[in-house]
């Protein structure tokens, strides 16, 4: 029975699109952090047999980045196409 509040932002779609672009800009920074993370593990004195786990970690990060990039590219592509069509803010 709750009364739905009206949305605070009118141009929700274009707002979302701009934040998606922010996310797209952040993704490589985040990816760089994950890729460079093994540097901090390397000097660990736990023995040197960590090539396989490192490799699995790196491939997992890699696959994760690809999936996220693929999900975002759809929105980014549609966003830029709509921009090109000149419908920047259709409320």
């Amino acid at each position: 029975m709750s009364v739905r509040k009206p949305p605070l932002f009118l141009a929700r779609r274009s707002y979302r699109r701009r934040r998606l672009r922010d996310a797209a800009r952040l993704l490589p920074v985040f990816g760089g952090f994950l890729v460079f993370l093994p540097i901090l593990w390397a000097p660990a004195e736990t023995g040197s047999r960590d090539t396989a786990p490192d490799g699995i970690y790196l491939f997992a990060v890699w696959a994760g980045l690809i999936v996220v990039a693929a999900l975002m590219s759809v929105g980014l592509d549609r966003g830029s196409a709509e921009d090109a069509a000149g419908t920047e803010d259709e409320a």
Binding site: P38, A42, T51, G55, A63, I66, S73, D77
Partner: protein
């Protein structure tokens, strides 16, 4: 595996590629190649990043340095998932400016400078030559593997001849499909599709070998992990410096390698393909590296000690008797090598012909920009450049003996092309970057790279003596090639990467800050940096009107070919609203033409060629004035609109006034009608009454006579009234006939006084006149003017209430006009009645005394209007005063 079968398969594969490229070119020419330029083909064409160095070398790299090989693919992955930062802008700029190569991008950004084009071309050629040699070497080595494994028949050919055959074959293929046409966007649909096919072949081949190794030779992933942990590869320790450095290096290289730039930017058919490539290309790279470590581990286990790990992909299946798989692997490696060589050769040849051959040729024969067959020259230059690039690669291979480890050469080449990065990123993000800064940075970076990495790679005493390595040139210790500025103990590659890029970027930034850019640089800089702002096609500042359209057409035909040039010119002419093929050489048209030519011969050359026909490239004062006058026109137009608006308002006001006047006149007309019926009725009533009395008869003669006299008087009054009305109507309609003649004013006054003396003859008037002033001849209608005078004089006689009435008539003439004033010494007319005296039926005193219809002054006013003059009441003269003003000479054509 029989060797001849291998050669046969090779030839068949090449023929297949030929056919693919040929068919695609034909479909593209027919305009039905839309699906061929899909995001998938674009992504697959990007796979030329994975050369034979990846295909064979990655396994060797992993065998030597564990997981470090991954950095070469993680760097590009970061660049591609971050496509919103740089790649998107590069692609947009490339399409908007019709960039033909990375050298063209740099040259175009920094004011279409050919110097920068040459520097980048030299860097690219020097860096790519060992890389091409590397590909030749890998193909030769893989042939050798099969040759030594051959059990019967064919003797293995020696290495040199294999390499030369491969180089010649590649040159032929590249020339055939890379220089078929000099099309506007420098795109090669056929080759790109063939490369996409090769990309699939190499991926499938590597995956097949990997799957065979993991599930064929080992017992699945768990077994592989166990084997990895047991293998010497796991002795590898991650070196933080190399890990970060190589990741960043490969990230830089994927943007600056000429062949990558070619497929990424130049061959891009649709910007939206980049969105797909942003994740699909990293996926491709991941799949390519997925089985590298397993193959290396199993190879190290199974292959005899001393076997070249660079060739495990090939030798491992072969040693296990998997001839078919080995064949597939061989084709994969062959694909990797050939696709890289083809694209690199095209990219380098474009750069060499556009930035070195064409400018030199134009310098030598300036007139030939118009008269020579530029098109043929460009194509020839490009073909020779392709052959030259491949010859260089072969020469390097032959000289170096093909002994160096594959991976080392690849990284050296990467550091070389990474020198372009500061100028490129600075160019697209920083408007302040200047040509001098870019040239300084590029040159310094290239020099440091050569000195610290490239030349030492030939080994001590090859180019640089061992003494220099140990003690530095001339004994200067801090200039030792691998310990610059005293930085010792660093990995030589990282050392060179660090110093070359640091010095490069510093020189670039400082040079840009200190120097001042030319106007063209600033225009281009703004166009590049603000490429996403709408309508950034900045004016290039070609002065219009100086070039002959025909000369431009001739030149365009020489470069673009006859048909495209003609249709380009025709559509431009149509856009300008002209018929035929010769548009006006407006600044806009010339700019468009330059862009189009830039797509074929590069920005710098196109600019130079247009300059020869048009003249200097500056924004002239005339251009600014044209812009200003356009603004002025708009302003004038709005002013005109405003004036019209005012005019309309005025008209509306006038119409409103006219309407009010008409309403008033209508009221007046009604009043007039009622007045006139009253005026007519009064005499008629008395006439009727007296005539009725007379009809009854029996009245004395005297009474009858008296009554008849009254009837007569009233009839006369009626007649006079009707006469006056007729007169007034004629005068008001302006239909009066004027008899213009010369008459003496004095005589006219005499006549008037004589006639007026009949009015109230009982009164004696003293008339004061100025006979001297009256002696003037007027050209006017004397009778009408006398009528006015009579009216005024008799009015004075009638109404002047002084005991000793005096009438003063004074005459003045001034500036071609004569004024006659009639002033009596009566009490005059009250202020509020002065405006009414000229109205019809206006009688100030009671009717009987006046004995007129009240039309006299109204008639006077109309008469004066007809005579070109006025009559007005003169207040403040001590009595009733009227002023008649009229022209000395009435020139009315009546």
């Amino acid at each position: 595996m029989p060797f001849n079968l291998l050669v046969l398969a090779c030839v068949a594969y090449v023929i297949l590629l030929f056919m693919v490229a040929f068919a695609v070119e034909r479909r593209a020419a027919a305009g039905s190649a839309r699906w061929l330029r899909s995001p998938l083909v674009y992504t697959l064409s990007l796979s030329i990043y994975c050369t034979a160095w990846t295909f064979y070398g990655a396994v060797g790299y992993a065998a030597r340095s564990g997981l470090e090989f991954l950095t070469i693919y993680l760097g590009p992955t970061l660049v591609f998932i971050g496509w919103w930062w740089v790649l998107r802008k590069l692609v947009r700029i490339g399409r908007q400016q019709r960039v033909t190569s990375i050298a063209d991008l740099i040259s175009s950004r920094y004011g279409k400078s050919n110097l920068l084009g040459v520097i980048v071309t030299v860097i690219a050629v020097v860096a790519a030559t060992p890389y091409i040699a590397l590909q030749l070497q890998s193909v030769t080595l893989s042939f050798e593997v099969f040759a030594t494994a051959a059990t019967e028949g064919w003797a293995p050919p020696d290495q040199g001849s294999t390499a030369i055959w491969v180089a010649a074959g590649l040159a032929l293929f590249t020339i055939l499909f890379g220089t078929r046409n000099l099309d506007a966007n420098e795109q090669h649909t056929g080759i790109v599709t063939a490369i996409a096919v090769e990309a699939v072949v190499k991926l499938v081949a590597l995956l097949a070998v990997g799957i065979f190794v993991v599930w064929g030779l080992a017992a699945g992933p768990a077994d592989i992990i166990a084997r990895i942990n047991a293998s010497p590869i796991s002795d590898w320790q991650l070196q933080p410096g190399r890990w970060v450095g190589l990741t960043l290096l490969s990230a830089a290289a994927v943007m600056t390698l000429p062949r990558m730039f070619q497929v990424l930017v130049v061959e891009n058919a649709d910007e939206r393909h980049l969105a797909t490539a942003s994740w699909a290309f990293p996926l491709y790279l991941m799949l390519m590296s997925l089985f590298v470590v397993p193959i290396a581990v199993v190879g190290l286990q199974l292959m005899p000690a001393g076997a070249n790990p660079d060739l495990f992909v090939l030798t491992l299946p072969l040693s296990q008797g998997q001839g078919g798989l080995a064949m597939l692997a061989f084709l994969g490696g062959f694909s990797s090598a050939t696709s890289m060589v083809i694209v690199a050769a095209i990219a380098l040849a474009t750069m060499v012909s556009n930035h070195i051959v064409m400018p030199v040729w134009l310098r030598l024969r300036p007139a030939s920009a118009v008269s020579g067959d530029v098109r043929r020259i460009v194509l020839m230059a490009r073909r020779l450049s392709i052959a030259g690039v491949l010859a260089l690669g072969y020469a390097y291979y032959a000289v170096s003996g093909g002994s160096a480890a594959l991976a080392a050469i690849g990284l050296i080449s990467f550091v070389g092309v990474a020198q372009i990065l500061p100028a490129m990123l600075g160019g697209i993000f920083w408007r302040g970057a200047t040509k001098a800064g870019a040239a300084l940075g590029l040159t310094l970076g290239f020099a440091v790279w050569s000195y610290a990495l490239f030349l030492p790679s030939f080994g001590p005493d090859a180019v640089i003596s061992a003494r220099v390595f140990a003690e530095g040139p001339w004994g200067i210790g801090w200039l030792r090639p691998q310990a610059l500025f005293g930085v010792q103990g660093m990995d030589p590659l990282l050392h060179a990467l660090f110093w070359s890029l640091v010095l490069n970027a510093t020189a670039f930034a400082l040079g840009s800050i200190v120097t001042f850019p030319s106007p063209l640089e600033r225009v281009q800089g703004a166009a590049f940096v603000n490429v996403f702002d709408a309508d950034t096609t900045a004016p290039q500042g070609w002065a219009p009107g100086r070039a002959e359209p025909e000369a431009l057409l001739v030149m365009a035909q020489r470069i673009l070919g006859e048909e495209p040039a003609l249709s380009l010119f025709e559509s431009a002419a149509r856009a300008q609203g002209k018929a035929g093929y010769l548009p006006d050489p407006t600044a806009q048209f010339i700019e468009g033409l330059e862009l189009r030519l830039a797509g074929s011969v590069g920005a710098a050359t196109a600019h130079a060629m247009i300059s020869q026909l048009v003249g200097r490239a500056t924004v002239t004062v005339e251009d600014l004035m044209a812009v200003a006058s356009e603004a002025a026109q708009i302003k004038e137009y709005s002013t005109r609109l405003e004036a019209q608006q005012v005019e309309v308002t005025r008209t509306a006001r006038a119409l409103r006034e006219a309407n009010e006047k008409l309403t008033k006149l209508s009221v007046q007309k009604d009043a007039f009608l009622s007045q006139i019926s009253h005026e007519l009725r009064t005499p008629m009533t008395s006439i009727r009454a007296f005539s009725e009395i007379m009809m009854e008869g029996d009245m004395p003669q005297s009474v009858t006579a008296k009554h008849a006299g009254i009837i007569h008087d009233e009839a006369i009054r009626l007649t006079r009234l009707l006469d006056d009305l007729l007169d007034l109507s004629v005068l008001e309609n302006g239909a009066v006939q004027l008899n213009l003649d010369l008459s003496n004013l004095s005589e006219m006054l005499d006549r008037a006084l004589r006639a007026a003396s009949h009015t109230r003859p009982d009164r004696t008037f003293t008339i004061e006149r100025d006979l001297l002033a009256e002696a003037v001849f007027l050209r006017t209608d004397a009778d009408r003017l006398v009528q006015v005078f009579i009216n005024l004089i008799s009015n004075a006689r009638k109404y002047c209430d002084a005991a000793q009435p005096v009438l003063r008539i004074s005459v003045r003439h001034k500036a071609g006009r004569v004024t006659v004033d009639f002033i009596d010494n009566g009490s005059g007319i009250a202020n509020d009645s002065q405006a009414l005296v000229f109205e019809k039926f206006a009688r100030l005193t009671d009717q009987n005394r006046a004995g007129g219809a009240g039309l006299g002054l109204a008639i006077c006013r109309e008469v004066m209007a007809n005579l070109g003059g006025t009559i007005a009441y003169l207040p403040g003269q001590g009595g009733a005063a009227f002023r008649v003003t009229l022209p000395l000479r009435l020139e009315k054509a009546a």
